[in-house]
Symmetry: C2
Subunit: 330 residues, 2 copies
DNA sequence: CTGTTAGCGCGTTCAT
DNA sequence: ATGAACGCGCTAACAG
């Protein structure tokens, strides 16, 4: 592979001129410019970016820390990040952490060792978080309340409250929940909204109505069992994401329970599949792609050394009513 | 940020010794080793990987070219690639091409310019492919027949044939297809299998029975219309992926058509959702994660300069029978 | 507009 | 076991 020196030799000029021809062509004479490009073509010269990055002390790369790449919500956020990164000429390194601190640490090290210029964390902040960290430019996307470093997120408390408010307005009084893992910040925030709405409606909180899941389809199916066994079933179930809602509906329907006439079900996220489930799912639409874009924009401001005046952005959600909810029977 | 020189100065040794302490600790005296690590801790020294990569002429990075990251099948393949890359100490750069040649070109350039050591292409080979390319170590994953560079894939022709064979064995004679875009190699291969199976069963091919989709949920819903309008409907529909099958089932059910008693429906891929659709989908399970792992292993062999004896790997699929298929009525 | 020079941080000789 | 010196490919500073 030829280097900038080979090109210079071929043309009969200095390497500086070749370098300039590539980055500041206006500072090079037309004649040289032409000969240089001819030489580049002839020698199939490709600038060595490793050298450039080394020289410029910039990798032009950002890292995304994602708990699970094979999750549609996350991959949509990533799509949004990628949009902005491309327009900035940055590459996106994928850090599939699988909820392992070890892996997360290694990806963060990429920033400490200059292989990447910043990181976007898709996991919400909690006690065991490795971020924020010295020397590591970072932004949190899709997190929760009280994130101690720059963040872009939705208001989970309010979103959950909207769902329950709506169910209450339909006449539901006994509203079950299929939650995520209990220490998960999303679970905490959304449960908080659930309780606020109940309280506003004068309904007493009943821990029996909370079934634990882990955001997977299977856990939703599994959790539906908890309600099926109850003698006095809830008339509605708020699921903390769409996957669990779809799993739960599968479980309920298998027992001959009709949705929504026997039990209403709601989701959270509005993934593409929510429209196509049977019945179509009433859910909260998160602006997944926007979350990605906004967080990337914020990160680039940080990387460029600008002090963004606003370090927490809360994006609006949309409550989407479909066919999985209705008023309870009498 | 401190450099290797600062550490050397702190310890009172040469940079060479520090360098060795990090990469060949056995060549350094215990005493120095200890003092060097102490100095590293004190100065918070982190080796500059940009410099290392430049020096070693290796970025320790591979690129994945993926048409659409927000697609569950692809993200599962990526998961598999990531598994292997991590164990090799390589980073994974995400190239979300959105079917744009321009973007694809830019990502391939990363390899030409040394920012990455190799590339895994998730889009099947076709006329307009930018790969194979000189100076670019590449592997194709999830492709089709006649891929002109190293590849890992399934046998799409045979998989489609299996589906149709099964439908025929149930007694179906009029079998519709919801296909992908017609130039798409997957469409071509799967259609070939469909035709082979028909031919083996002595059933004449009828182009009227092919409805065109584009692998999205919506296109499946849309294509179902084509069959609903027909006076003499097929008794089974083979969809070229699970998304379209789920979309189609939505459309059919909306018109009061029962699945499978009125029309059987099959998918392709076996994504997680296939189990949870209503009815659960009969489909071909692609070993998505395995495809990723195997292709990554093949790529690393190429990168390491080993000449793999086998440059095309065909992985087995599994035909999974669920509730969306049955014998036709009467 | 162009060339010369120097150095980014590291690893690797080749000595000792 | 250790250090001095060099150079990877490129760009910025300076001089002309």
């Amino acid at each position: 592979m030829s280097t900038i020196r080979d090109v210079a030799k071929e043309v009969g000029c200095s390497t500086a001129t070749v370098s300039r021809a590539l980055s500041n062509p206006e500072k090079v004479s037309k004649a040289n410019l032409k000969r240089i490009h001819a030489a580049i073509d002839k020698l199939e010269y490709r600038p060595n970016m490793l050298s450039q990055q080394f020289r410029n002390k910039q990798a032009n790369t950002i890292v995304i820390l994602v708990p699970d790449i094979a999750n549609l919500f996350f991959s949509t956020v990533i799509s949004g990040i990628e949009n902005v990164a491309q327009s900035k000429g940055f590459n996106v390194l994928l850090g599939d952490t699988r909820d392992s601190s070890e892996r997360e640490k290694n990806f963060i090290k990429l920033v400490e060792t200059k292989q990447a210029d910043g990181v976007i964390q898709l996991r919400p902040y909690s006690e065991d978080s490795l971020l924020p960290k010295k020397f590591v430019t970072a932004v949190n996307a899709c997190g929760c309340e009280n994130n101690p470093y720059p963040a872009v997120r939705i208001d989970n408390v309010d979103a959950a409250k909207q769902i329950v408010d709506y169910l209450v307005s339909l006449g539901h009084k006994k509203i079950g929940v299929i939650s995520g893992l209990e220490e998960n910040p999303h679970t905490i925030d959304r449960l908080k909204g659930y309780k606020q709405a109940l309280s506003a409606a004068g309904i007493k909180f009943d821990p029996e109505l909370i079934a634990k899941g882990d955001f997977t389809l299977w856990s939703g199916l599994n959790a539906s069992d908890h309600f099926i066994r109850m003698s006095n079933r809830p008339t509605a179930i708020m699921c903390m994401n769409d996957e669990m809602a779809i799993g739960a509906m599968k479980g309920l329907k298998a027992k001959g329970i009709n949705i929504p006439s026997d039990i209403s079900v709601t989701g959270f996220d509005d993934m593409e599949f929510a429209k196509y489930s049977d019945p179509a799912l009433t859910t909260i639409a998160q602006p997944a792609e926007k979350l990605g874009e906004k967080s990337a924009e914020l990160l680039f401001q940080l990387i460029e050394g600008k002090n963004p005046q606003q370090t927490e952005h809360i994006l609006p959600v949309e409550f989407i009513i479909r066919q999985s909810t209705s008023a309870p029977k009498n």
